[in-house]
């Protein structure tokens, strides 16, 4: 029976998130329809990612804001506020994406899409938050590189064992 361990599930989820983010940044490749539906899928993927990381989020929040639980080191602080900034950025990106949607949201609400010229400010927020997200996602990857490398090694080991 195929059994998906927690680590493999997290690795697959994170890999899917990364590929989805790369795809979302290239509308010319995906087209607007796929871009918008993929964008609407993102809150669920991010929610799952956050739920899987909850132990770290809760422990770090306690360490940062409680005087009793010991002090967090600089790297942990940077990682925490980087993650928080990324969450804020992705929230802005999804919200602005919903507000300027031309295909998916009009399909779901059965209402005509607003002309892009009426939503220039939100279009600009979407573009800017998307540019910031590229940098923040990359730094998020960079600061969690050791975990990522360990997960890749573990996954490669699983493949070798499965090939026997």
């Amino acid at each position: 029976m195929f059994f998906l361990s927690r680590l493999r599930l997290i690795f697959l989820l994170d890999a899917t998130l990364l590929i989805a983010i790369c795809a979302l940044e290239t509308v010319n490749f995906t087209g607007l329809i796929l871009h918008e539906w993929l964008g609407l899928l993102m809150p669920f993927l991010i929610l799952a990612h956050l739920l899987f990381s909850w132990t770290w989020i809760a422990a770090t929040t306690r360490r940062l804001f409680s005087s009793r639980s010991g002090r967090a080191d600089t790297r942990t602080r940077i990682n925490y506020f980087l993650t928080l900034a990324l969450f804020a950025c992705i929230t802005a990106q999804i919200l602005s994406g919903i507000l300027i949607s031309q295909q998916a949201i009009p399909f779901l609400t059965k209402k005509p899409a607003l002309a892009l010229t009426e939503n220039l400010a939100w279009g600009r927020i979407h573009k800017n938050s998307s540019d910031f997200a590229v940098a923040l996602v990359s730094f998020h990857l960079a600061i969690n590189w050791n975990w990522l490398a360990a997960a890749v090694r573990s996954r490669l080991g699983w493949r070798k064992a499965g090939a026997r």
Partner: protein, 89 residues
Amino acid sequence: MMPFVRTLGRIVLIAVAATFFAGLTFVYSRTVRPRAERREFRGRGPREQRDPHPRPTEPRPGAFPVFLRQCGVFAVVTLAGRKILRLRL
């Protein structure tokens, strides 16, 4: 039952945080002026008007190199971040 309630509690907390940041984005949106309205951009028109090739609706497999280039951008910025964050913080 308990793990379900615990997970539900976490989802509510994430939703509250997302609502807070959405509120901040709404506040920020009031201060954003579209480029077309600014004096220095007057005459150029909004992006949609000056872009002769609007974004395609359907996927374009021919634009796959654009996707690869974006993956490359992520890789380069990640490596740069790795170099910066490797410093003893």
